[in-house]
């Protein structure tokens, strides 16, 4: 809880760059303008928060999305633009402040509404809130838990947090593995068929 307040405080004072190490790259986004990037960044912090271990913002899922929305996810770019704008409008309607500037808990409630499709419909037009949530969540998870080569999951941070060795220690360098029969095989050999 304390940690969360601290991050939230950092967000408000605009020092997120210092803790996540990626706020400073905003200018490099090819697709998102400043306001969109701010909203998306805050949304990523909701989906997979930076805490003791970098989450989606810290693992540079922003860069992943910025790249993939120009390539494999390009069919979703229009929905991202519309959805981020609508999410911001929803924040303004409820709190008279942009989504990125809200307290963490306020943002969280909005994202819960988004997931349930229960935010006031006005800013959303024909864009389905639930669909937009599902899309951004899926892409974010892919960027965070997927291969670092695509721009997210920097330094394989999520894999290492899960306890998945990177680079792998089995199957490549150690091609002959396993040389010795495992416990079960050894036991079976002792007891016979």
């Amino acid at each position: 809880m304390k940690r969360r307040d601290w991050i939230h405080g950092a967000l408000l004072t605009g020092t997120l760059a210092a803790i996540s190490g990626c706020g400073g790259t905003r200018a490099r986004y090819r697709l998102f303008h400043e306001a969109e990037a701010g909203t998306l960044h805050a949304l990523l912090q909701q989906l997979i928060p930076d805490d003791e271990i970098p989450g989606a913002p810290g693992a540079n899922v922003m860069r992943f999305l910025d790249r993939q929305l120009a390539r494999a996810y390009s069919g979703h770019l229009a929905a991202y633009r519309k959805g981020l704008e609508a999410l911001n409008q929803s924040a303004l309607l409820r709190h008279q402040a942009p989504f990125a500037n809200l307290a963490f808990e306020q943002q969280e409630l909005l994202v819960e509404g988004l997931e349930a499709g229960s935010l006031p419909p006005e800013p959303w037009g024909d864009l389905s809130q639930r669909e937009f949530f599902r899309t951004v969540r899926t892409h974010t998870m892919q960027g965070y838990y997927g291969d670092p080569r695509h721009g997210g999951n920097v330094d394989a941070v999520s894999w290492r947090a899960l306890g998945v060795p990177h680079p792998p220690v089995r199957g490549r360098d150690d091609y002959q593995f396993p040389k010795e029969p495992s416990k079960a095989t050894a036991a079976a050999e002792r007891t016979g068929p």
Binding site: G55, M141, Y145, G146, V164, P165, R170, P178
Partner: protein, 550 residues
């Protein structure tokens, strides 16, 4: 235009074997494959772009910009989709077809899987039927597949399999940690665990090295060629005879007919999109269950105005895959040992004999679940995002095991492939239009299988378990089958027992399409056995009539 004894359409599981069998028998064979040739060196082990998780692309085809399909949902809404959409029901398009990147489980169906109607009767609203052939007919051909491609395993602890003359040619890989835990648990429950048979070298075989047990197996090509696919076994043999020419990036658009109305060859588009013609005495359609049906439906002629073999409206019907179901459990200790391929131990106790249910499934542990494949599988009560989700995965990824299996589907007539007259692919060929869903009884069986799997995980010591049950939507996908049913009666099937199209004796369909039912097992070894069986028939007939008309 070229002339051949036989043209084989599709270099996948079925087509690769037919090409080899006919070429080694001396026939001049043209093997046409719409995808590219892939080598192990092309394998980049990309978690997000592989044949299982195709979020950023399907590297083993088909090319997503050129090959749309149409999917119709339960409400009747049609959407144009690409291979990366689950509704596409993709398998693969490359030399080797699905066998280039598959998981390589090598199951024989059980004798009862060929006699589903006799065993259970026909559930209302289904087209459940017995096969015109029996397990015993296929047994020698299962064996041939196991020995020619190479299967590792040991079936001696499984009391349920049909009679077999020979053991598998290679021993199983040493067990994983999950295997040890689940083997002990299932034994305590009185079940009969055994190692999953695999088209994967555990020792050197066929001139290829053994598995190095890497993390990225299912959905990927094997860097060391330890996985046996048609691309590294039978297809090279076919080519080495000098009788077979393989042309890649060659998509067949139509089976052509001569002046007498007899099918006489194919039209295809080559790698440079030029329209080509090939004439052949025998035409073998092996494009996989969706594409084979599409090709037949697109091949209209005077004698077959509704598409080749479709006089009774059975082509494209009964599309089925498997209703995958099971459970996931969290354990107090690490179960992850990073030892590929992961899937290792199975039980067949629940394939049949479940009271009140017309079938069942094999149940087994999973291939290594990459992180990006694990994030969606959290228990009810854990939110699908946020700090709780992140922490759940961090705490439990290495302690989570799945146990599940391919529930045999009860076929339905309206689960189908049609061609969409308005949507065309890159070459102007009408695309496949997929519609329909699963039979309600399939869902009941699947739910029961999920509970069985959960019980196993609990016995194995899981502290928390949850079910993964199949949904009602259309299945096909990687296990697609059924669309050109094999049968004795031309009124209720598309091909006869030798895969010969009713009414077109020189056209054969040899792939998953001909399955009457799809077993409670991954289908590929059965597709391979049928390919040997059908090839055997073609070779015998060739010696007589040469399929040159009566």
């Amino acid at each position: 235009m070229t002339n051949h004894d036989a043209v084989v359409i599709g270099a996948g599981a079925g087509g690769g074997i037919v090409a080899k069998e006919l070429a080694t028998a001396g026939l001049n064979v043209l093997l046409l494959e719409r995808g590219k040739a892939v080598t192990p060196a092309d394998c980049r082990k990309d978690d997000l772009a592989n044949q299982r998780t195709s979020a950023l692309g399907a590297p083993f085809g088909p090319d997503e910009r050129r090959n749309p399909r149409v999917a119709v949902d339960a409400k009747g809404n049609a959407r144009v989709i690409t291979v990366r959409d689950g509704g596409y029901n993709n398998n693969a398009a490359c030399v080797g077809g699905g066998t280039q990147s598959y998981g390589a489980m090598a199951w024989r169906f059980l004798p009862k899987d060929f006699r589903m109607k006799e065993t259970y009767g026909v559930p209302a609203g289904s087209t459940l039927e017995d096969w015109p052939i029996r397990y015993e007919d296929l047994e020698p051909f299962y064996e041939k597949a196991e020995y020619e491609l190479g299967v590792s395993g040991d079936m001696s602890a499984d009391p349920f399999h049909g009679p077999r003359r020979k053991p598998l040619p290679m021993p199983p890989l040493p067990p994983t940690r999950e295997h040890e835990i689940l083997e002990a648990a299932t034994k305590r429950m009185g079940l009969h665990p055994f190692p999953i048979p695999m088209l994967r070298n555990s020792v050197p075989y066929g001139g290829r090295p053994p598995c190095m047990r890497c993390r990225w197996c299912v959905g990927f090509a094997c860097e060391v060629d330890a996985k046996a696919g048609t691309q590294n076994t039978v297809i090279p043999i076919a080519l080495s005879t000098g009788n077979c020419r393989l042309e890649t990036q060659a998509i067949v658009s139509e089976i052509t007919t001569g002046a007498d109305g007899r099918p006489d060859g194919v039209t295809y588009f080559d790698a440079r999109d030029r329209r080509q013609q090939a004439k052949a005495s025998v035409i073998v359609v092996s494009g996989g269950a969706v594409e084979s049906a599409r090709l037949l439906l697109n091949s209209k002629s005077r004698l077959f105005p509704q598409g080749l073999g479709n006089h009774s409206d059975w082509v494209g019907r009964n599309l089925q895959g498997h209703a995958y179901s099971g459970a996931t459990g969290v354990f107090p200790v690490d179960t992850f040992d990073d030892l590929g391929p992961g899937a290792s131990v199975a039980v067949c106790d629940y394939n049949h004999g479940n009271p009140g249910l017309a079938g069942g499934a094999l149940l087994c542990n999973e291939f290594i679940r990459l992180p990006v494949q694990a994030y969606n599988d959290v228990p009810p009560g854990v939110r699908s995002w946020g700090r709780q989700h992140k922490q759940f995965l961090q705490q439990n990824y290495r302690r989570t095991m799945g146990f599940r299996g391919p529930t045999q589907e009860i076929p339905v007539f309206d689960a189908r492939v049609q061609v969409d007259s308005s949507v065309k692919d890159h070459w102007g060929i009408p695309v496949a239009r997929l519609s329909g869903g699963k039979h309600p009884h399939t869902l009941e069986i699947a739910a029961a299988m999920a509970s069985k799997a959960e019980a196993v995980l609990k016995e194995a010591g899981a502290t928390q378990t949850w079910l993964n049950k199949a949904g009602p939507g259309l299945s096909g996908g990687q296990h697609q089958a059924g669309t050109c049913r094999m049968g004795d009666d031309p009124q209720t099937s598309a091909v006869n027992r030798y895969c010969q199209v009713h009414g077109a004796e020189n056209v054969f369909v040899v792939d998953g399409s001909v399955h009457v039912t799809n077993g409670g097992f991954n289908p590929v070894l059965t597709i391979m056995a049928i390919a040997y069986w059908a090839s055997d028939f073609v070779k015998r007939e060739w010696k007589g009539t040469r399929f040159r008309g009566a």
